[in-house]
């Protein structure tokens, strides 16, 4: 009834190619952005900012990045944690070497560092495919974490733990523990919105089509003139760029203090992979839905078990892990294509509602 595109005629290809071609979507996105930018900052407190919103935002960026690689280009990667660590340590080194550099630039440069490393570890994708590649990407996960722990230069010859110095953006402190919840939230939100917009443009244009061509049938893609080498490496680079930015934000804003082997271990790689699978492979919206689900679910489970039932924290943790597993398998069985597909089906139903025939 409300979600209708009948009567919305597109008179040019430009209108048909717009990012949100349907008017209801346009209204919805404007509303969401308005609430996120103008309403939420007034109400957000420390708990919500630190435990819910910031992890959701930074992991959304990582999920978008991994979705570009896995969902759009079809190259399975289990090295997300390693690339996040590159972003985090790069931002730390840049910040401590150039104290006057603006924080936004620092984070973007960290993304570029991660992109470079991503290209390097993407090189095997030319010779090997599928699960062989997935396993090979684990090399980046383990090697990078080992390197950051082992080589003292990366953590400025201190303990392997790194801590972010305070930095300001537009006169407001956004990093370190002295930053306010709203400022940190808005800082992350800015990166998320710009990142998602750029990613959406990429995947619906020529680049995205060549990625999907490689994903769906690499031989045919090559026969229509796509260069597999460049296309795959570009996907690795851009994906790692996003993941690196996410890692930098995790370090600078969300956590403030990290140690490579704890904050960016292999479970982090799996977590992001779960986000995009449950959210929906090959969907930017799905990256957000998946990140939201995987961040919120443990919090909700924990609150119910410890808060409502008064269980011991250890038992609750074990049950939480089991339930996470059960829910993951459950969602894979119910809808292997993730929330994004559910949303799509819902949209198609809404278009016809209430007269589906």
């Amino acid at each position: 009834m409300f979600y209708r595109e009948s009567g919305q005629f597109k008179s040019s290809y430009a209108k048909d190619q717009a990012i949100f071609p349907i008017r209801q979507d346009q209204i919805a996105i404007v509303l969401i952005l308005a609430v996120a930018f103008l309403v939420v900052p007034w109400f957000v407190n420390d708990y919500w900012s630190k435990s819910v919103l910031q992890p959701f935002l930074v992991f959304s960026i990582a999920a978008i990045g991994l979705n570009i690689l896995v969902g759009y280009c079809g190259q399975i990667s289990l090295g997300t944690g390693g690339f996040m660590a590159v972003g985090a340590y790069a931002s730390y080194k840049i910040m401590t070497s150039f104290p006057d550099m603006p924080i936004v630039l620092v984070i973007i440069l960290s993304g570029f560092c991660a992109a470079g490393v991503g290209i390097l570890f993407g090189l095997p994708s030319l010779r090997i495919k599928g699960f062989y590649l997935a396993v090979a990407t684990l090399a980046s996960q383990f090697f990078l974490i080992w390197m950051f722990n082992k080589v003292p230069w990366f953590h400025n010859y201190t303990m392997s733990q790194i801590t972010v110095p305070p930095r300001e953006f537009l006169g407001v402190t956004v990093t370190s523990s002295s930053a306010g919840p709203a400022a940190q939230y808005l800082f992350c939100l800015g990166f998320v919105v710009v990142g998602a917009w750029l990613a959406k443009n990429l995947v619906r244009g020529r680049t995205g089509r060549s990625w999907m061509a490689i994903r769906d049938m690499d031989i045919a893609a090559e026969l229509i003139g796509i260069r597999p080498l460049q296309t795959k490496l570009l996907a690795f680079a851009i994906s790692s760029f996003y993941i690196g930015i996410s890692g930098a934000l995790i370090f600078c804003v969300y956590l403030g203090t990290v140690e490579a082997s704890e904050a960016f271990d292999i479970n982090q790689s799996f977590l992001v992979l779960f986000m995009i699978i449950i959210g929906g492979l090959g969907s930017i919206l799905g990256s957000f839905l998946g990140a939201g689900f995987m961040i919120l679910m443990p919090i909700v489970l924990k609150n119910i078990m410890v808060g409502s039932f008064g269980m011991a924290a250890v038992t609750a943790k074990h049950i939480e892990i089991s339930l996470m597993g059960v829910l993951i398998v459950f969602f894979l069985i119910v809808e292997p294509h993730g929330f994004a597909r559910l949303w799509q089906i819902l949209k198609e139903k809404l278009r016809l509602w209430p007269f589906p025939y």
Binding site: R206, S210, M212, D216
Partner: protein, 272 residues
Amino acid sequence: MNEPAAQAAGSHDKVIGDVMLDVNAITLRFGGVVALNNISFNVRKHEILAIIGPNGAGKTSMLNVINGFYHPQEGEITFKGNVRSQMRPHIAASQGIARTFQNVALFKGMSTLDNIMSGRLMKMKRNFLWQALHFGPARKEELEHRAFVEKIIDFLEIQSIRKTPVGRLPYGLQKRVELGRALAMEPELLLLDEPMAGMNTEEKEDMCRFILDVNDEFGTTICLIEHDMGVVMDISDRVVVLDYGRKIGDGTPNEVRNNQEVIDAYLGVSHD
């Protein structure tokens, strides 16, 4: 058979030009198996050349060699004056060779429109940074190519399935979309690998019409593999016959039809 196809074949008076593709003494081996044995033939500008032969004769391997997917051990290929023995497929594509496949090789996760748009990839020049902004030149380029693709969609009469993921389409339509993707590359030489396999008579007639129209209107040279003898005899200007990796016939449909070796190897023996 095929009344409209036969008429169309008779109606267009076309000028067949010089040699465009020259295949010279190609030998291709997989381990001990000789897939192609010293094959030579040529394709002239603006003609429709059919390659026929029993299953396993090496027809598809021949196409794979022409567009650089297989690398022959001996022999060379001259395309538009450039001699080469080995090349990567994407270079063949950039020189103007497009093809369709025996088992439909569409990008299953993408819509019809995106599949055909992917045929334009080589013609699109703006790099990914412009596209990320989706602004200015990149946007203009995207829209220009969209307009071109829409022409192909109109030509192939697939307007209604523009936004449908190709995985959901029936086989006949998938074949048509695949032809569309090849056409979007604006090829000079179009290789069609069994474009009518598994189709019913009506679909075959449609496909024949498209092939003849492409040849006629765009002046595209076409090299096709087909098993349906009626179709081959009707639409092709010349026929090359392969059998177990050897060439046993080459000439106009009538010549080939009367060639005793061809009749023995193919028409007479394997189809009785």
